[in-house]
């Protein structure tokens, strides 16, 4: 690793920090823009009680002091307490739901990468043949459907009509459909990415050299072509994580699964603002880290790439 790469990594780290800072700032001031305090209720409460509550939560301080405190708390993962779920820290709620989302999201990412690379390289090898055409048509068509439509059609077909799968259970069978739904769109993107990069690589001189040497087709594909054609997929890892996070918001709702996405949607409909803000900051953090890691990884794997 040379000093240029180090410089790049440091630059990206600073950028990531600034991004998280911006999100924390935006969420804080956005929370201030929402009319009404957290203790406003239908029933009138004694003003002195509200005053006590405000004092307890530090809401009597000037806004700027509150902002600094929010910032400091966010640094140590403290987003305050939920307004609707009694006596629970938002961080605990996130901690309870994260494992479910992580399991679904990582499986979906793995599925998308594996199937995407297989389909993409198949299409490239069968360039302009029936298999290639079919794969391209399918991958173009399936990104034109919103994920909630696909999810609903899946539940209708597999659960309501065929009765194969139950919705909203805890067994692993219930996770098949959600994982497939979430992975569909990234899978199509990876398929196209792998196809075009494999086509590029297959036209390269060193592949012709290998062919001339009499290396078998299989060996050329796995030893020579795939190693180079798969690297662009790494750059897509960041956007894919972002897609999976948003995809899970819809899919968890429709398939009635536990997870961060459903928690986020529920907190919106319950107007539990501290929870909305906490989840936003957390998801941003997650995504910034993933993008950072994937970019740095790509830089290390492929040192020829110059990002600026």
């Amino acid at each position: 690793m040379n000093s240029k790469t180090m410089f790049y990594i440091v630059k990206r780290l600073i950028l990531a920090l600034v991004t998280v800072l911006v999100v924390v700032t935006v969420t804080f001031w956005a929370m201030q823009a929402i009319p009404g305090g957290p203790f406003n209720q239908e029933k009138a409460i004694d003003p002195s009680v509200i005053e006590q509550l405000n004092k307890l939560y530090g809401l009597d301080q000037p806004l700027f002091i509150q902002y600094l405190r929010y910032l400091g708390n966010a640094l140590v993962w403290n987003f305050g307490v939920s307004l609707k779920v009694k006596n629970t820290l938002i961080m605990d709620l996130i901690g309870q739901n994260l494992p479910y989302s992580l399991a679904t999201g990582l499986s979906a990412a793995a599925l998308a990468i594996i199937i995407g690379i297989i389909l993409g390289s198949t299409a490239a090898l069968k360039h302009n043949k029936a298999a290639d055409r079919t794969i391209m048509v399918l991958s173009t068509a399936s990104v034109a459907m919103p994920s909630f439509v696909i999810a609903t059609l899946f539940t209708w077909l597999f659960a309501d009509t065929l009765g194969l799968i139950q919705i909203g259970g805890d067994s692993w069978v219930c996770y098949i459909l959600p994982i497939v739904t979430i992975s569909l769109s990234p899978m199509c993107y990876i398929t196209r990415l792998t196809r075009s990069s494999t086509l590029d690589v297959l036209g390269a001189d060193y592949i012709r050299t290998a062919q001339a040497k009499g290396v078998s087709r299989k060996r050329i594909l796995f030893k020579h072509a795939l190693r180079n054609s798969v690297t662009p997929v790494i750059t897509y890892a960041g956007p894919m994580i972002a897609y999976i996070i948003t995809g899970s918001i819809v899919v968890e709702q429709i398939f009635n699964l536990k997870g961060l996405g459903r928690m986020f949607v529920n907190s919106i409909s319950a107007r539990d603002y501290p929870q909305v803000m906490g989840t936003t900051v957390f998801l941003t953090f997650l995504m910034v880290i993933m993008v950072l890691v994937s970019d740095i990884l790509y830089k290390i794997v492929n040192p020829r790439v110059d990002f600026d």
Partner: protein
């Protein structure tokens, strides 16, 4: 020495006027270029026309756009008309009618020999004609898409070109801002902003513009204006930076062209294709975003329909009345597919390397 006087041993051909004759008109014509000089735009159009899929998609979109403009004026039902509601009470036989079926009173009128316009896609749970709702929904979804793309186009182009033209420190600072916005999780931020803007607008009271559009649509535009322009800005800046360094700009400058001339005659024409393609692909993305927000209950205001809100409302009764979900979903599918393919076709047509 006169022409014709030459060394008798010379092999030189003796050019005198007898060797030449005047060209006929036909011969003159033959020397002209058979193909007229074609402009960049005409070339692109020719390439686009050769792309059969893109042409079919364009025709489809044209027909659809004509349909959504004309049909609401001539159709006998309106999108918010509850057919079952009379002054004597609500006739439930009008709710969730299957395609090409009729409500109870309509059947009586048909028996009496009257012509009743069929409900092509049936009716929804409130007894509203679904065909007109889907048509109006398409209109609103497309409008949201086009306006969002315009917002992105204007902000992104201005920002990107300032950054690219100024260069230096200005560029550095402007691009770091873009980097930060670029790495935000867009959907999460969109949801957050929609929620907050909703609250803010609902407190602002009865603004006529807000009331007619619904707070959510305005939120979508604001969100696009705040977040989605960064991709366009990056693209325009990159394009300008690469053109700025090419020789023909230097040549133009050395001949004394002013900055304004260079921008108008060289930079803008060379950026237009990139901008058009990116804006075209922005429309389906905005339609998607709108349908997604509709699913979360943050879409257009009721009773106004959008394709996304129709599809997500249809979800609840999918096993009983599947067409309520399927019809708008198919419309979303076809529109997004067509726009994506048109965008791809435009990109191929505008790419001079393809020539």
């Amino acid at each position: 020495m006169k022409l014709g006087d030459k060394n008798p041993l010379s092999f030189q051909v003796d050019y005198n006027s007898n060797l030449f004759s005047l060209a006929t008109r036909n011969e003159k014509k033959e020397t002209q270029l058979t193909r007229p000089a074609s402009s960049f735009l005409r070339d692109a159009l020719r390439r686009f026309r050769r792309n059969r899929i893109a042409v079919i998609c364009s025709v489809f979109m044209l027909i659809l756009i004509l349909a959504i403009i004309i049909i609401p004026f001539v159709y006998p039902y309106t999108y918010d008309q509850m057919l079952g509601v009379t002054k004597y009470g609500t006739d439930t036989s009008f709710e969730n009618i299957a395609p090409f079926q009729y409500g109870a009173t309509e059947l009586e009128r048909i028996k009496a020999g009257e012509f009743i316009w069929p409900h092509i896609f049936g009716t929804d749970a409130h007894g509203r004609d679904y065909f007109i709702r889907v048509i109006v929904g398409t209109r609103i979804s497309l409008l949201v898409g086009v306006f969002a793309a315009l917002v992105v186009l204007v902000i992104g182009t201005i920002y990107g070109s300032i950054s690219g033209l100024r260069g230096g420190k200005t560029d550095l600072v402007m691009m770091r801002i873009v980097d930060v916005i670029y790495s935000l999780p867009d959907m999460v931020i969109i949801i957050l902003l929609s929620v907050i803007l909703n609250e803010a607008f609902s407190m602002a009271g009865d603004n006529p513009i807000v009331a007619s559009l619904g707070t959510n649509v305005i939120s979508i535009f604001i969100v696009f204006a705040l977040l989605y322009w960064v991709g366009m800005a990056r693209l325009v800046r990159g394009q300008i930076l690469s053109i700025k360094q090419q020789e023909f700009i230097l040549a133009s400058r050395s001949m004394g062209a002013s900055n304004g001339f260079i921008i108008r005659k060289h930079l803008i024409p060379n950026c237009v294709s990139v901008i058009v393609v990116s804006a075209a692909l922005q429309i389906p993305s905005a339609i998607f975003t709108e349908s997604y927000l509709s699913f979360l209950g943050l879409g257009v205001a009721k009773p106004m329909p959008s394709l996304g809100s129709l599809a997500s409302a249809g979800r609840d009764a999918i096993s009983l009345y599947p067409w309520l979900m399927l019809v708008p979903s198919i419309f979303i599918f076809l529109i997004v597919l067509a726009l994506n393919l048109i965008g791809d076709g435009l990109r191929d047509a505008f790419d001079p390397k393809q020539k």
